[in-house]
């Protein structure tokens, strides 16, 4: 009886996993399905995952929409730049937060928590005025800085958790072996932090890639629009929505993000294997 139960465990795990994957993947499948359906079928009571008639025109209409490709490039630039900046700042800062005790840590953690309290709508006007004073409204640089600022607190919070999980004895061992603090950081701490850095980078990238409100308010020129702004133009007044082209545009828009994730995912799992503690 016990043997049978043990034999059932693995299939049950696979069934649970399959169910979870379907749960996660179904919205994407539905998006793909909607992207190749005609508006008539999308407004029909008959619901099928596979379209009755493949309507590829949604893709040509989405691509013909002003600036979809350009706004994808803008989103990629802003997301990559803000991710790089976030990691550059968060990596050393998180180490300080995790390792040092006292007032600096308390102030840092306090700042992180307080910064998450304010609704975006409260800060947007002062932020707009500041950026306008320094000439950075309607620019990708300004948006990159805003995304960096907005993502940084949570990224710091994430990374300091990873740093705290690295036994301090490892650093002490490195020091005993003659390594300076810089060497210990470079050769011990940072490699072990790779999974955390990748996870934080992914979070930062997604936050920036999907961000709508700051981009909506700060960007004024179509040539600077990011993807969420361009996609929002598929939603019209009077409740009109071009569902098919919107779905097609969303599928096209997801491609760079999927590529980024597939690359980073390898690093994420690779990083987990690196820097193992021995003994």
């Amino acid at each position: 009886m016990r043997v049978i139960a043990q034999q059932m465990v693995r299939p049950a795990q696979y069934v649970a996993l399959a169910g979870y994957i379907i749960f996660l993947g179904f919205p994407l499948l539905w998006l793909l399905s909607a992207s190749v359906k005609s508006s008539g079928e999308l407004n029909s009571l008959v619901v099928n995952l596979l379209p009755q008639e493949w309507h590829w025109e949604n893709y040509s209409e989405a691509l013909a929409r002003q600036g979809l490709v350009r706004s994808s490039a803008n989103s990629a630039i802003v997301a990559l730049a803000s991710t790089a900046l976030v990691i550059l700042v968060a990596l050393p800062a998180s180490y300080v937060l995790a390792r040092l005790k006292g007032a600096i840590r308390a102030a840092g953690v306090g700042w992180i928590l307080v910064s998450q309290v304010f609704p975006v709508i409260l800060v947007i006007l002062p932020l707009f005025l500041i950026l306008r004073t320094i000439g950075l409204t309607d620019s990708l640089v300004g948006l990159t800085l805003v995304h960096t600022t907005y993502t940084l607190p949570f990224a710091l919070w994430m990374l300091q958790g990873y740093v705290a999980a690295i036994p301090v004895e490892l650093e002490e061992a490195g020091s005993m072996d003659g390594g300076s603090r810089l060497v210990v950081l470079r050769r011990i701490v940072f490699p072990l932090l790779a999974p955390g850095v990748v996870a934080t980078a992914m979070f930062s990238f997604v936050s920036s890639w999907n961000e709508f409100f700051f981009a909506l308010v700060l960007l004024q020129s179509p040539e600077n629009y990011t993807l969420p702004i361009t996609l929002s133009t598929f939603i019209g007044g009077e409740g009109k929505v071009a569902l098919g082209p919107l779905a097609a545009g969303s599928v096209l828009a997801a491609i760079p993000s999927i590529v980024f994730f597939s690359i980073m995912q390898k690093k994420l799992t690779g990083g987990l294997m690196a820097g193992a503690v021995k003994g």
Partner: protein, 441 residues
């Protein structure tokens, strides 16, 4: 492995520093490229023609093309005053405009809707166009529509496009039920109710009406019953809920629960969602925004024989409250007069006709309505829809400061509860008025 000294030894990942350095350099290059790209863009200088920024919200490809064509014609004819289209989406545009106005970065010409620009006008962000609008244009705009863009005796926008509520019917289902298709200039609500009852048979309901957010429809159609809801303007506006205001909600309630002639699920759907049951033959009629005529023509099953019924008329007539799309001018624009001249050009008969044809909406000027009627005839119910263009009347609720808050926090939930049979007529009226009092006190 533990060293003789008791320390834990560590494996140094080979090559890792090189990779980290590479990532760092890549990050720096990205940032530098971004900075250089930003430095490369910018204004060419103050010389040259005046450039007006026109923030346009057109979302339909045909409407975008029509707008671009009008702007191109203007730019060709006016080399010294060039107009640059800044496309924007409807989603979040109110927040965008608030920030733009407060930050002094609003475009010269602003496309939006009457219901939303009144507060901007009251706050002093929109130019007074009263003296800049030509007599010809003023005479061409129906009085009720012009009233909807007049704040404190100042014309603060040119109206361009409107939608009305229209009944679309499945001709086959009506004829099968022995109903004669109404063809007069108007159709009464009582007629609609009778037709809905007559066509409710088996699995078919007489009417589908997407009323998940019912306030806009009830407010827009109330004038036909003598309902005004609002008296006064601005902070002094007051709410009245009497017979005229309650007539339509009570009618819908009666059709849904006494006659059982409204497909219940549609009361919880949007207009676009409710149209699916019309396509499927589950409802014989559906009340929709007039722009849906174009979608029905495109999306309905080939065997669906449909028709747009005459405008609905209450005891007071076929009036519907006007909430047109509008073009306004930023009061801080350095080129208010040039902007108004462009809008005059934009609202010429042939331009408004082309734009509204593309958007499947009703032109805000009589001449453009006539031009479109002449061009399209009775195709896809256009003649019926365009005829309703003369029935627009002023919407007092546009000018009440507290309307938007009352609509979202009081009216819509109260109407939803009523249509779900959680409250009765008396409770609905009480909730509407006490909610208004709470907001305005």
């Amino acid at each position: 492995m533990t060293s003789p000294h008791g320390h834990t030894s560590t494996t140094y990942p080979k090559g890792r520093p090189m990779k980290s350095r590479g990532v760092f350099i890549a990050a720096c290059l990205t940032t530098t490229t971004l900075l250089l790209a930003a430095c490369g863009s910018g204004d060419a200088g103050d010389d040259g023609p005046v450039t007006l920024k026109f923030q346009a919200l057109s979302d339909q490809p045909a409407a975008i093309a029509a707008t671009e064509s009008i702007v191109e014609d203007w730019n060709t004819a006016n080399p010294d005053v060039q107009v640059e289209i800044v496309p924007a989406g409807w989603d979040g545009v109110y927040d965008k405009l608030i920030t733009q106005f407060n930050g002094g970065a609003a475009p010269d010409i602003i496309h939006y809707e009457a219901a939303s620009i009144v507060s901007f006008a009251r706050d002093g962000y929109l130019a007074d166009l009263t003296d800049l609008m030509s007599d010809e244009r003023r005479a061409d705009i129906p009085e009720g529509v012009l009233d909807s863009v007049t704040v404190d005796d100042q014309v603060i926008a040119y109206p361009t496009e409107l939608q009305s509520y229209v009944v679309f019917a499945n001709r086959t289902l009506l004829e099968d039920a022995g109903v004669e298709i109404p063809t007069g200039e108007t159709m009464t609500w009582d007629e609609l109710r009778e037709i809905a009852k007559a066509t409710t048979k088996g699995d078919v309901y007489g009417l589908g009406w997407g009323l998940s957010s019912p306030t806009a429809a009830f407010m827009a159609l109330a004038p036909g019953f003598g309902g005004t809801y609002i008296t006064g303007t601005g902070e002094d506006a007051d709410l009245t809920v009497g017979e005229g205001e309650m007539a339509l909600p009570e009618l819908v309630h009666g059709m849904a629960y006494d006659d059982k002639s409204i497909l219940p699920v549609t009361l919880t759907q949007s207009g676009s969602e409710a149209i699916a049951s019309f396509y499927a033959g589950q409802t014989a009629m559906t009340v929709q925004g007039s722009y849906q005529a174009a979608n029905i023509a495109k999306d309905a099953p080939e065997d669906l024989d449909w028709v747009a019924l005459p405008p609905l008329a209450g005891p007071e007539g076929p009036q519907q409250a006007a909430n047109p799309q509008t073009l306004s001018v930023n009061i801080d624009s350095e080129h208010v007069e040039e902007s108004a001249e462009f809008i005059e050009f934009f609202t010429q008969t042939e331009h408004l006709a082309a734009l509204n044809e593309a958007d499947a909406l009703i032109p805000a000027t009589t001449s453009a309505q006539e031009a479109l009627t002449e061009k399209l005839g009775d195709e896809n119910g256009w003649s019926t829809i365009l005829a309703s263009g003369q029935n627009f009347t002023a919407a007092p609720y546009l000018f009440a400061d507290s309307y938007a808050q009352w609509k979202d926090t009081v009216a819509t939930p109260a109407y939803q509860r009523y249509l779900a049979q959680e409250t009765d007529e008396t409770e609905l009226a009480d909730q509407l008025t006490s909610g208004w009092d709470e907001i305005t006190q």
